[in-house]
């Protein structure tokens, strides 16, 4: 057994959606093709790395890697289109707080020749090579180097999404933050899945100006909804609207845009329901024109009475469009809660609208700032 001392705590580090950014083999093939073209007197083409990498990446459905620092095992899962999913576990070494290493040995063919008997390319001998994989954790970069004889060559480089940040870096405190809201008095609250999916530790909420940990109960990545539970009894919670949402209906969005960097006060924006469908005809979502900014994710979208209509989820980039934002419909959230056997409440239809003061109090008491590291 080997024990390597670093500041790394026992944790799961995830590299996901890895994409090739450099590949020496594609360059070699390109050069060979160009040489053939030259010999034939044809026009050669310059090596276009973006195009080449796009072609390689198009062959994969996904490439993910998960490191467990406690067991020292990395699980690589990748799937090529129309091929079986490949899953390989490798033991890895911790080099420092930001780098893991895996060393592989392999024998490859050397001195190729055409074998007349088998009618295949064969090799006169073999060559032993070492593949050394460097995993740069905070940047999500994988580099594979090849050592054979006196030469050392970068075989490929991949860039992945990572949930790791260096212990001393400024972004290490909060990996993700967003908004959420209570749906009953038992401390259950709803937020977006993307607010909690990259968390390396338990999510937290700010409740009565104190940090409270929350357990993840259920998620639906497709819907982008997560259900969590904090061991508290909130003063208030939101009820689901009994009425179907309608176009032009007035809506209010509550949440913590840009986290607490802006201020620790709950913020509101208002607008109307623009469409009963979301992006690409998504019938689980509706479109609103009230502003939704980063940090609003998972926050409630309510009507005048403070009844829940939808959960803020995303918006089109402000560079492309203005006032096109989306929420997950309350009916979809209810389905999600039903499946997970969680109690929630419908509102009673009221002919009286809440005053601003009451509405503000309800949302202040039922909306939370959620974050994790």
């Amino acid at each position: 057994m080997f024990f390597i001392h670093t500041n790394l705590k026992a944790e799961i580090i995830k590299f996901s959606s890895c994409k090739f950014t450099k590949d020496s083999l594609s360059k070699t093939f390109h050069d060979v093709l160009n040489n053939q073209k030259k010999e034939k007197g044809e026009k050669t083409t310059p090596y276009n790395i973006k195009k080449e990498m796009a072609e390689i990446n198009a062959k994969y459905e996904f490439i993910d890697k998960t490191f467990n620092t406690e067991s020292g095992i990395m699980v690589k899962t990748q799937k090529k289109i129309e091929k079986e999913k490949e899953e390989v576990q490798s033991n890895f070494e911790i080099r420092d707080d930001n780098t893991f290493i895996i060393v592989d040995i392999r024998e490859t063919g050397a001195d190729p020749f055409y074998n007349k008997e088998t009618k295949k390319i064969d090799f006169k001998s073999t060559r032993v090579q070492y593949d050394v994989y460097f995993y740069y954790l905070s940047k999500g970069i994988v580099e594979k180097y090849n050592y054979g004889g006196r030469h050392k060559k970068l075989d490929y480089q991949q860039k992945c999404k990572t949930n790791y940040s260096l212990p001393d870096s400024s972004d290490s405190k909060n990996i993700a933050s967003g908004s959420g809201f209570f749906i009953n008095r038992n401390g259950y609250f709803v937020t977006n899945n993307h607010v909690i999916s990259e968390c390396r530790s338990k999510s937290k909420i700010t409740f009565n100006k104190k940090e409270v940990e929350a357990d993840l109960i259920a998620t639906d990545a497709t819907l982008d909804i997560a259900l969590l539970k904090a061991d508290i009894r909130p003063k208030n919670f939101l009820k689901f609207s009994n009425d179907r949402p309608e176009k032009l209906q007035k809506v209010i969005v509550a949440g913590y845009p840009f986290g607490k960097g802006l201020s620790d006060d709950l913020k509101f924006t208002q607008g109307i329901i623009s469409s009963l469908k979301g992006y690409a005809d998504n019938s689980n979502e509706l479109q609103i024109d009230a502003a939704i900014n980063p940090g609003n994710s998972g926050g409630p979208i309510v009507n005048d009475d403070g009844d829940l209509l939808a959960v803020a989820v995303s918006g089109l980039s402000k560079d492309i469009a203005e006032g096109i934002n989306f929420g997950i419909k309350g009916s979809s959230v209810m389905n999600f809660l039903d499946v997970n056997s969680i109690d929630y409440t419908y509102s009673k239809t009221s002919t009286f609208s809440f005053g601003n003061k009451k509405l503000n109090k309800l949302l202040e008491e039922s909306t939370v700032y959620t974050y994790c590291n």
Partner: protein, 137 residues
């Protein structure tokens, strides 16, 4: 009395091992040159492996490849490439079995498909055939 107890304990331990669902292939001979993995030397005459094992764990649907490379071989690589990092741990890789029947097991490893012929204790790979296979005990 103590002796009887010891025998019972030992037989219990042995029966647990035999029930471990793991088949171990060892003393594997490389098909290309007919040399056993533990006797392989590189072209500079340096012994490459202290031990080379392939374990088939049916219960976990996994094939475990264990390579214990000699210190001398690793040092020789570092001499040629000073920035080569000598690994401090053995090379242990676990690949998922993708197909199994009475005669053979298939698994994917480093994007190549490997087939273990159980009757012959042979491991073949879908690239660089027919010479690059292992025959084990």
């Amino acid at each position: 009395m103590k002796k009887i107890l010891l025998i019972i304990l030992l037989s219990l331990a042995c029966s647990t091992n035999s029930y471990s669902n793991e088949i171990i292939y060892q003393n594997c001979i490389h098909g290309k040159d007919g040399i056993q993995m533990e006797n392989k030397k590189n072209k500079d005459g340096i012994k490459m492996y202290d031990k080379f094992l392939i374990k088939i764990n049916i219960a976990k649907a996994a094939v475990i490849i264990e390579s214990y490379v000699t210190k001398e071989h690793l040092v020789s690589v570092k001499k040629k490439n000073p920035d080569f990092e000598i690994p401090k741990i053995p090379i242990i890789r676990t690949a998922k079995i993708i197909f199994v029947d009475e005669d053979k097991i298939k698994y994917l490893y480093l994007t190549s498909e490997y087939t273990i012929n159980l009757k012959d204790k042979e491991i073949r790979v879908d690239v660089m055939e027919p010479n690059y296979w292992l025959k084990c005990e």
